[in-house]
């Protein structure tokens, strides 16, 4: 156990949470913990590029239940590293952007740090069991955050989000256990690295699959439903908008920005590599559902009249793109999906942060109450605009790079010799729907921006003050992250690619490919 760094990543926020609960200056303590964690994550990222045969770095393990080969095994590949970075960045920003907490401040920040620790734990776990368990660490803090410090219909929302997610994660647990049991008894282990190795070895030796092919379909479906509920896959999405609307700002940021990504991360980490045939078998179902996410939820978003719900629904909608990348079943689309995890995490955190500030300053989230705020809140409008453009996939922001990869990956996924548009494969039709979704998202986002920041300033709004100095840098961090990755996505793509590559099926050649 010489590599304690990843444990530290989990322990720092936990320790911070305890200190925040007991100490006096909770905000400072948690900012310190979150900042230290971010610094550690950056250091680890910096050390990540050293050449190595092992895709998983910084490995360490603590045995927990030897009988089941259960151990607290941690390690990160590129994907994990990126998720850790996302989690730490958003945590710092969320803590810094927390509104003033008058009631039980310590508990508030402790809850935030708990969620953060849970996310990070899930991202670094290489053991199926703890991978699952860490995610659940966020459940009760979310309930408390919404219930105690929430807005509007906080109680109903707290119930809904908690029960729905509990149900979802239970289904997920069943799926994971089913996966475990479907592995031939002599190979059974929760250790993902061993499972990967076995899978690769079996594929090489006999072309066989670790999990029997006939079982893969329904296990994948179970995992998809479980993860799907956590990701707010259509039609299991209704918890998300209300939950995010009711949650205090930093909770929404962490939840929508990081925690929700756990499901997708899980699909990438567990379901797709270990159940390739299952993924293939279920792809049609997934396509239908993700079109639901993109088009149906997109339309629902247009119909929203409150900013918080609108942002909530829009974050649901964008999950559809990530699913599209996953469904492409190839390295391009899945890298895109992975990148979009990161990009969407940052952008949605920024959006929710703006929403929270507006709510705090103006006591309303109804779009019709707003207007002309660009005059009094120029900085906020600038940041919101950038986050908004990022989220609708404007080039220059990471979201665009990711969506581009997703579209390319999905469109070129199948062996292709299209003769007419009517020869499109289902996946290609889905891409079409996805592209239309880009239009839809522009419609509602610009509509919202127009309502809130443009037009005349209504008399009812007493010209609210702009961002304070302390509120500025988190936005800068988030936007800068989006821009840097957006300008040169390979910064992250090249890091995450190796982790995804070995699990992909060979790519079929196509007609008419230019010779190079």
């Amino acid at each position: 156990m010489k590599n304690i760094f990843l444990y530290l990543l989990i322990l720092i926020p936990l320790a911070g949470a305890v200190a925040a609960m007991l100490g006096n200056s909770a905000r400072r303590i948690s900012l310190l913990a979150a900042g230290a964690n971010l610094a550690l994550a950056v250091l680890l990222l910096a050390g990540f590029n050293s050449p190595s045969d092992d895709p998983f770095r910084y490995r360490a393990a603590i045995a927990v239940l030897p009988a089941l080969d259960l151990k607290l095994l941690v390690g990160v590949d590129g994907l994990g590293m990126m998720m850790v970075l996302l989690a730490t960045i958003v945590t710092v920003c969320a803590v810094q952007l927390s509104p003033e907490v008058k009631d039980r401040e310590g508990a508030f920040f402790a809850c935030l740090l708990f969620i953060s620790a849970g996310c990070i734990g899930a991202f670094v776990s290489l053991d199926l069991f703890f991978f699952y368990a860490f995610h659940e660490l966020a459940l009760i803090p979310t309930f408390l955050l919404i219930g105690i410090w929430g807005h509007g219909e906080r109680l109903a929302a707290a119930w809904k989000i908690t029960i729905y997610l509990a149900l979802g994660s239970f289904i997920l647990l069943l799926g994971l256990v089913a996966l475990y049991l479907a592995i031939p008894a002599e190979h059974r282990t929760f250790d993902l690295t061993k499972l990967y190795a076995l899978q690769a070895q079996l594929a090489q030796n006999s072309g066989a699959s670790l999990v029997p092919v006939e079982k893969q379909g329904w296990i994948f479906l179970t995992l998809l439903s479980g993860f799907g509920i956590l990701i707010s896959l259509f039609p299991f999405h209704t918890w998300a908008p209300q939950g995010y609307a009711a949650a205090p700002t930093p909770a929404s940021m962490l939840h929508a920005g990081v925690l929700k990504k756990f499901g997708l991360f899980g699909l990438l980490r567990v379901a797709y590599p270990l159940l390739p045939e299952g993924a293939q078998a279920c792809s049609k179902v997934l396509l239908v559902l993700l079109v639901g996410n993109i088009l149906y939820v997109g339309l629902v978003t247009i119909a929203q009249k409150k900013l918080d719900l609108l942002l909530g629904y829009s974050s649901v909608m964008h999950m559809g793109y990530i699913f599209l990348g996953l469904a492409s079943l190839n390295i391009i689309g899945q890298s895109g999906a992975a990148l979009l995890l990161f990009a969407h995490g940052l952008s949605v955190a920024a959006l929710f942060a703006v929403m929270g500030i507006l709510r705090d300053r103006l006591d309303t989230t109804r779009l019709e109450d707003f207007g002309g705020l660009a005059r009094t809140m120029p900085l906020l409008s600038l940041f919101f605009g950038m986050a908004l453009f990022a989220s609708i996939g404007l080039p220059g922001f990471a979201n665009f790079a990711a969506e581009t990869m997703i579209f390319f990956g999905a469109f070129g996924a199948d062996s292709l010799s299209v003769k007419s548009v009517f020869d499109f494969t289902p996946l290609q039709w889905t891409v079409l729907a996805g592209l239309w979704g880009v239009v839809i998202s522009a419609v509602y986002m610009l509509r919202a921006y127009r309502r809130i920041f443009f037009g005349p300033l209504p008399d009812t709004l007493k010209s609210p003050p702009d961002l304070t100095a302390a509120q500025r840098w988190p936005f800068l961090v988030l936007i800068a992250g989006l821009l840097v990755v957006g300008f040169y996505p390979r910064l992250l793509v090249d890091v995450i690619k190796p982790g995804l590559q070995p699990t992909q099926p060979a790519t079929p050649a196509r007609v008419g490919v230019a010779q190079r």
Binding site: L65, P66, A67, A133, L139, G147, L181
Partner: protein, 499 residues
């Protein structure tokens, strides 16, 4: 030391305490509670030093000292120790409801009776003969009749006692009749001999299942399985809280160990395995549904915990079903003993933690409704946080022992291919989150009721025990191995048995 001395020392210790209490009227009654705790602790320690006897003795026909028996003995001891702690904490309430002319009268007996019940529980853990099962179970049951009714100035307590009495006696009737029939079929009461004798019977599966069903009625009552669970909510609500805790943990665990031993015998008869399987599956499904769904509208905390206790019986039954052979799966039947033992260990920690807190809070509040926990996070952040951990564990949140319990249960159910139960289990878990978090909502979201906002005082030892329990819940939630090792720790022979 011979394991049989464990129970003997508990009984003797109980007697000594009873005498001491009678002859030392001036000593604060609570002292006897702490003395009881100390004595049982001593027995608990002793239990790690027992060795198997070197030669066969007649009592070995009745009495097993395998690892399971030892585990459940220790389980009973720990439960009783904690119940005694609760009882000491409960003394103020107790005195309010006792018909005592002098302060402290009747308290001593209240503190001694659990010790005798503990002996009964320990005997049950070892019972491998129906005669032994019957008498030890009755010792426990009759102790509980008394304990439930103990605060007889409290009409609820009385009512609970009467209900428990009638239904308990009814279930005893069925148990006895079942034992009679088993005896009639095989000519034996010893489990070890019944098994082969049942196999030797030809074409008698109707009668075999008939007698099994009657015994199952008696044991189903103990473990609170549907449809023999109806007493649970009323009795739990009415009984003095330490007794409720004792019932829900000790009595249930003892019921389960007996059920497991009996099931082991009857599952050896291939002709009735199908019917047993059907019974268990339907029973588990009904218990899950009843316990979880009916818990949702509850407003009284103890009643809520009663339904929760039914729900957990359902989960435990689910674990049992995994042993059933099932077509279409290559997985061998999963041995459930370990799962159930671990689940019950976790259940002990979280349930007793909840009940201790109920006692402490109810002592300083108007009652024990969930509404009386409103704003507990302000009155005592420590208690609120501890109860939060207990509730999270009961609901099955990871990194609590409750999660590992559920994990093992559902893993074995999946391995056994029990799809119906898994589906119902999923819904149950969701319901569970609702009603356990209802308590969290009360503690954290609701404002303190006017006039009941005094900070809650908490004695040092009690506080330490609460912290210990909460800590154990978390520790076993991350490292479950110690509890499982305990289950597998068998009694070492003093000298190698020449058998």
């Amino acid at each position: 030391m011979n394991p049989i001395y464990l129970e003997a020392s508990v009984v003797v210790f109980g007697l000594v305490l009873l005498m001491a209490e009678a002859f030392l009227p001036r000593v604060d009654k609570r002292t006897f509670g702490w003395l009881g705790v100390a004595g049982l602790l001593l027995v608990l320690v002793l239990s790690f030093f027992v060795t198997a006897p070197t030669e066969a003795a007649p009592w070995q026909r009745f009495y097993a000292f395998d690892s399971a028996a030892m585990f459940y003995k220790r389980f009973a001891l720990v439960t009783t120790i904690l119940v005694l702690v609760m009882a000491v904490e409960y003394v103020p309430t107790l005195q309010k409801y006792l018909a005592s002319a002098t302060p402290g009268a009747g308290v001593g007996e209240f503190l001694c009776l659990p010790i005798f019940a503990c002996a009964g529980l320990m005997w049950m853990a070892s019972a491998i003969d129906f005669a032994m099962i019957f008498v030890s179970l009755e010792l426990v049951t009759i102790s509980f009749y008394i304990l439930v009714t103990y605060t007889r100035r409290n009409p609820n307590s009385l009512e609970a006692g009467v209900k428990y009495l009638i239904l308990g006696a009814l279930s005893t009737g069925f148990l006895v009749y079942g034992i009679t029939w088993v005896y009639g079929l095989t000519g034996h009461t010893s489990l070890a001999k019944i098994g082969p004798a049942l196999l030797a019977l030809q074409g008698q599966d109707t009668a075999i299942f008939f007698s099994f069903a009657l015994i199952l009625v008696g044991l189903g009552f103990k473990v609170a399985a549907v449809p023999f669970q109806l007493w649970v909510p009323d009795v739990y609500q009415g009984a003095p809280t330490p007794v409720t805790a004792f019932l829900s943990v000790g009595s249930k665990a003892a019921g389960f160990i007996v059920l497991l031993r009996v099931l082991d015998v009857f599952l050896g008869v291939p002709a009735i395995v199908g019917k047993i399987g059907l019974t268990l599956v339907v029973g588990a499904a009904a218990t899950l549904i009843y316990g979880n769904f009916a818990a949702m509208p509850q407003v009284n905390f103890k009643r809520l915990l009663a339904y929760s206790s039914i729900a957990h019986a359902g989960y435990l039954l689910v674990a049992i079903t995994s042993v059933l052979p099932h077509p279409g799966s290559t997985n061998p039947p999963v041995p459930f003993g370990e799962t159930i033992a671990f689940y019950l260990a976790g259940y002990l920690l979280m349930t007793l933690l909840s009940f201790i807190i109920v006692i402490v809070v109810a002592n300083q509040s108007p009652g024990d409704d969930i509404a009386h926990f409103n704003g507990l996070s302000r009155r005592s952040p420590f208690l609120a946080f501890a109860l939060l951990i207990a509730m999270a564990s009961l609901a099955g949140v990871p990194f609590t022992v409750g999660f590992f319990g559920k994990f093992f249960v559902f893993a074995s159910a999946l391995a056994g291919g029990q799809w119906l139960l898994i589906g119902i289990g999923a819904l149950s878990v969701a319901c569970g989150f609702y009603y356990y978090l209802k308590v969290v909502r009360a503690m954290y979201f609701q404002p303190v009721a006017a006039g009941a906002d005094a900070a809650i005082e908490l004695g040092g030892p009690t506080k330490a025990i609460i912290a210990l329990l909460a800590g154990l819940i978390l520790f076993l939630g991350i490292f479950p191995a110690p509890a499982l090792d305990l289950y597998h720790a068998s009694v070492k022979p003093a000298v190698a048995l020449a058998k």
